[in-house]
């Protein structure tokens, strides 16, 4: 019990009261509050306040996760899910980037591309699942298509806005100094739109997980979503929680990856420069 009270102490108080208790790295700080919640949950389960049928205790979840990992089952389902995300995201990012370039770089491109995309965007894309099943069957295709469709919108919208937001004065100066259209796109417009593009990528990643959860409920025989649905039929809340945790951890991990990308690709930005000096 004493262990759980320790973890339940708010980290802010710890930091104030004991200066020696320093966080090792800013990125790890993000994992502290989830751990605190887990502590509270474990305590409640051990006190019998939560029945395992409603929600398994974290210790039971951990044991199940260990078992699934050792048997290779978790790895297999994870690989299948990651494959769907990876392929869907690659297609979605390519489509979004392509359309954003066409619409962002020319007036006629905007007129042709932007209107239909804005119209399709008003549809809640998850509602397209029945149509996708009719068109693409119940195999891998509709799952990947759903991820691709969902991720292409945030990429398109943010990159398009980013391209249009590039300072016209910089474009003008670059043109005076002899850059042709291709040089302008490469040296001025794309780097200028990159910050918005990366914001789009971050949105796209969260949409990708959401799409995956829905997509994996379509007659899946593998993947984290299958693992969860299968567990539901046997009232195995521990497996369901393992699946949800894997989704959550992957989401955090993806976010960390994009942050790292931003740090590297946007090192020139005044905000990041100041951070590094500090």
């Amino acid at each position: 019990m004493s262990g759980s009270t320790d973890t339940a102490t708010p980290p802010a108080l710890l930091a104030l009261g004991a200066p020696r208790w320093a966080f090792p790295a800013p990125d790890l700080r993000r994992f502290v509050s989830p751990l605190v919640l887990v502590g509270v949950w474990q305590a409640a389960s051990m006190l019998g306040m939560i029945s395992p049928r409603t929600l398994a205790a974290p210790s039971a979840v951990l044991a199940t996760a260990w078992g699934l990992a050792v048997s290779g089952e978790l790895g297999h389902h994870l690989a299948v899910s990651l494959g769907r995300i990876g392929l869907g995201l690659a297609i979605g990012v390519s489509l979004g980037t392509g359309f954003a370039l066409v619409a962002g770089l020319s007036r006629w491109g905007e007129e042709i591309v932007d209107a239909p995309i804005q119209m399709i965007r008003t549809l809640p894309f998850l509602g397209l699942v029945p149509l996708f099943i009719l068109w693409l069957g119940i195999g891998e295709a509709p799952k990947i298509a759903l991820v691709a469709l969902g991720t292409s919108f945030p990429i398109y919208l943010n990159l398009f806005a980013g391209i249009r937001g590039v300072d016209a004065k910089l474009v003008e100066a670059a043109r005076v100094f002899g850059l042709d259209q291709r040089g302008l796109i490469r040296h001025v417009i794309l780097p200028g739109a990159l910050p918005s593009g990366l914001v789009g990528l971050r949105y796209a990643l969260s949409v990708a997980w959401l799409s995956l959860v829905i997509a994996e409920q379509i007659n899946a025989s593998a993947g984290i979503g299958y693992l969860i649905n299968d567990a539901r039929d046997f009232l195995r809340t521990d497996i369901i929680v393992v699946g949800l945790l894997v989704y959550a951890l992957l989401g955090l991990l993806a976010d960390a990856v994009v942050r790292m990308l931003e740090r590297r690709a946007l090192a020139w930005r005044p905000v990041l420069l100041k951070e590094r000096v500090r």
Binding site: L170, V176, F177, L273
Partner: protein, 239 residues
């Protein structure tokens, strides 16, 4: 007389507003010319036309030497490229880094070769913009109020730097400014743009290096201010 820049019958309208009205202009090679005018008088429009940023109307003649380089009021450095890459932007031919380095050495920024533009002060950024213009070895250097946004002390140092560079490279230079003192301090010749034409063309033959003050300086200053429609009490008294 050979001319480096020749403009004939240049008219520019924005809606009902005629900014340039059949303007004629000749600049001699290597001359340092200051172009004065009230705000909205078309100074920047003329400079943009010479820079090739605005189209030349069919009936007009605009002849400029090549290469031409511009320094704008703001540095306009690409924030995502280190200083030397900004200077080397669009540069044809080999050893871009070496040439950029040489130009940055001339403006005293050699230490900042790999720095990000965001880390530079206003004066340093404008010096980098000057290096970006210089590295092209321009035969026509267009300066669009490049010192207007700088503090007074930095501006004085920039004046000295621009004159040194102009003497070393001898490009025909057109400085758009609203600062009469700056014009008298730097230029061989001051033009006043008014009602879309060159309303006054005044030679400045003060010996270099020049300093503020003196009766000749004050007289020129008073004359230019009068052309701009500003009357000051008595320039002789102030001097």
């Amino acid at each position: 007389m050979t001319t480096a820049v020749r403009v004939r019958r240049l008219t520019r309208r924005f809606g009902a507003n005629t900014v340039l009205d059949g303007l004629d202009l000749d600049l001699a090679p290597g001359q340092f010319v200051a172009l004065l005018g009230r705000s909205g008088s078309g100074k920047t429009t003329l400079l943009r036309t010479l820079a090739g940023l605005d189209a030349v109307p069919a009936e007009a003649v605009v002849e400029v030497p090549h290469p031409t380089a511009v320094v704008f009021q703001e540095p306009r450095l690409l924030p995502w490229k280190p200083i030397w890459r900004n200077v080397a932007l669009g540069l044809a031919g080999g050893d871009a880094r070496g040439r950029a380095q040489a130009a940055l050495r001339e403006v005293g920024l050699e230490r900042h070769l790999d720095a990000w533009p965001a880390t530079l002060s206003g004066g340093e950024a404008q010096r980098a913009a000057l290096a970006r213009a210089l590295v092209r070895e321009p035969r026509l250097l267009l300066l669009d109020e490049p010192f207007a946004a700088l503090d007074a002390l930095t501006r004085i140092r920039m004046h000295g730097l621009v004159i040194d560079l102009w003497r070393a490279h001898a490009p025909t230079t057109l400085l758009v400014t609203h600062d009469v003192d700056e014009a008298v301090l730097l230029a061989d010749r001051a033009l006043v743009l008014s009602h879309g034409r060159i309303a006054a063309d005044i030679a400045i033959t003060l010996p270099r290096p020049r300093r503020h003050g003196g009766s000749e300086f004050a007289a020129l200053r008073g004359r230019l201010l009068a052309e701009l429609g500003v009357t000051i009490p008595n320039p002789a008294e102030a001097a």
